[in-house]
């Protein structure tokens, strides 16, 4: 048996097909993954993401420590409420994890991946020496993501007036506390929406209220196809410790300036940048019928080979799409091997759908 979130019993009662995800028993879908996907693109739905690890960073040197720990620069968060996305690198420049970092009134709040939480904490603790910083793992909290074009409007009507007002005023990539809730306008679907971190004991009641108000639960299956359409990396699949952020379409999250900021992995990725990055993460679109899958081989005429890192059927586009790591010289055409046959694919920017609209 895996770990369970505070909502486990509710998922089972709602008919979820439960699967293991990074050691957690999580809902894959509650009937139809494709219907759940459309529900989020067209209206809104609620995801249990309580398996993700929330870590609060406090102490007088929290900022300096995170500026050393992370490839993005928390110095760019100019006021409490602002957030940024960052990779945490090892000394070789590989990605240990990716995360969201919020500047709060009392320090910083990190939200890291479920399967990597323990590894991340070990790495962080091993790099505390010399800093006046404390890490507080918040396993007392649960987290719900409510995503979709109508998410904020609907949620604002279901919560206290103070929380409703906050939800109306939140800017994208902003997160703030209201009482014992932390409400952020962030997500992993390419739609507008919220992520709400709240005391675990309150999560089943709130989740029930949402479902009762007609906001259906959405499983991890749809979460995966939604993030794939949005071109967002999944840790362990598109990025891992052997992958440089420069080859993962997240070079924009590396804060090279100020040049004197020394962060773990900087030397390695500076060298890589100077000698030339060899690989890149691209999007693939299969124009014929079929389904692209992770680990299928990509062949680019006169350039070389690559590999699909994530692939699936895109419910929004009604065709198969993928993320693939390929040689830098790859242009706009490639081929993918599916069961011994080669199929032509279009190479595109890895961003297929945003706010309900096709981008390819």
């Amino acid at each position: 048996m895996g770990q369970r979130t505070p909502l486990f019993d509710l998922h089972v009662a709602l008919g979820a097909k439960m699967v293991d995800f990074g050691g957690w028993d999580m809902p894959l879908h509650y009937g139809s993954q494709v219907e759940e996907h459309h529900q989020v693109r067209r209206d809104c739905g609620v995801f249990d993401v309580s398996h993700m690890t929330v870590i609060d960073i406090v102490g007088s040197q929290a900022k300096a420590w995170l500026q050393y720990l992370l490839a993005n620069d928390v110095g760019r968060l100019l006021e409490p409420g602002r957030a940024l996305y960052s990779a945490m690198l090892n000394t070789e420049g590989g990605v240990i994890d990716d995360m969201l970092v919020y500047l709060t009134d009392s320090g910083y709040r990190l939200v890291v991946n479920a399967a990597t939480g323990a590894k991340d904490l070990a790495w962080m603790r091993a790099h505390l020496a010399g800093f006046e910083v404390q890490l507080v793992e918040r396993s007392d909290l649960a987290m719900l993501a409510i995503q979709g074009p109508h998410a904020r409007h609907k949620i604002a009507e279901l919560v206290t007036s103070a929380r409703g007002a906050l939800i109306q005023h939140l800017q994208p990539f902003e997160g703030r506390s209201e009482g014992d809730w932390f409400i952020a306008r962030t997500g992993y679907t390419g739609e507008d929406g919220l992520e709400i971190i709240l005391p675990a004991a309150q999560a089943p009641g709130f989740f029930n209220d949402l479902v009762g108000a007609g906001i259906p639960p959405i499983g991890l299956g749809a979460r995966d196809t939604l993030r794939l359409e949005a071109g967002m990396n999944l840790y362990g699949q598109d990025i891992d410790e052997s992958v440089s952020p420069l080859a993962a379409n997240i070079a924009w999250t590396i804060a090279w300036e100020p040049a004197e900021r020394d962060f773990i992995g900087r030397t390695a990725i500076e060298k890589e940048r100077a000698t030339g990055v060899k690989l890149k993460l691209v999007g693939l679109v299969l124009e014929e019928r079929g389904v692209l899958r992770a680990h299928q081989v990509v062949r680019i005429a006169e350039v070389g080979e690559g590999e699909i890192t994530s692939g699936s059927f895109s419910p929004t586009l009604s065709k198969s799409i993928a993320l693939a790591r390929v040689p830098m010289a790859t242009a706009d055409r490639a081929e993918v091997e599916i069961r011994g046959k080669w199929y032509p694919v279009r190479v595109v920017q890895p961003n297929f759908v945003r706010h309900g609209k096709a981008l390819i």
């Binding site: 196809t225 019928r289 079929g290």
Partner: protein, 127 residues
Amino acid sequence: MSNIPADLRFAESHEWARLETDGTVTVGISDHAQEALGDVVYVELTEIGNVFAARDTAGVVESVKAASDIYSPVSGEVIAINEDLNGSPELLNSDPYGAWIFKVKPSNTAELEKLLDAAAYKSAIGE
């Protein structure tokens, strides 16, 4: 509990087979199979004229989750394929016993007797 029609025979690999009055055998996948696969998004059909031995690979069903081979439950020659599945692969989810995949002219109808009946299939899938 999945739907298991009493007039069909089943392979352990979750195909169903129905002997028609004209002696041909119609093949699809069980309700239990479609449930386990999740939303079907693509069916790679075999071709008319292909000749299979029992348990040969005879196509692929791809769901959002994974690709899964289809095996011919009996030996014989493919005489029809359900081209409706090209445009509407989700029929395998909504109507698993109506949405057949292919039909074969069996070379040995005795092979049907080796397949599971409804009761045996029910117990094979633990229901």
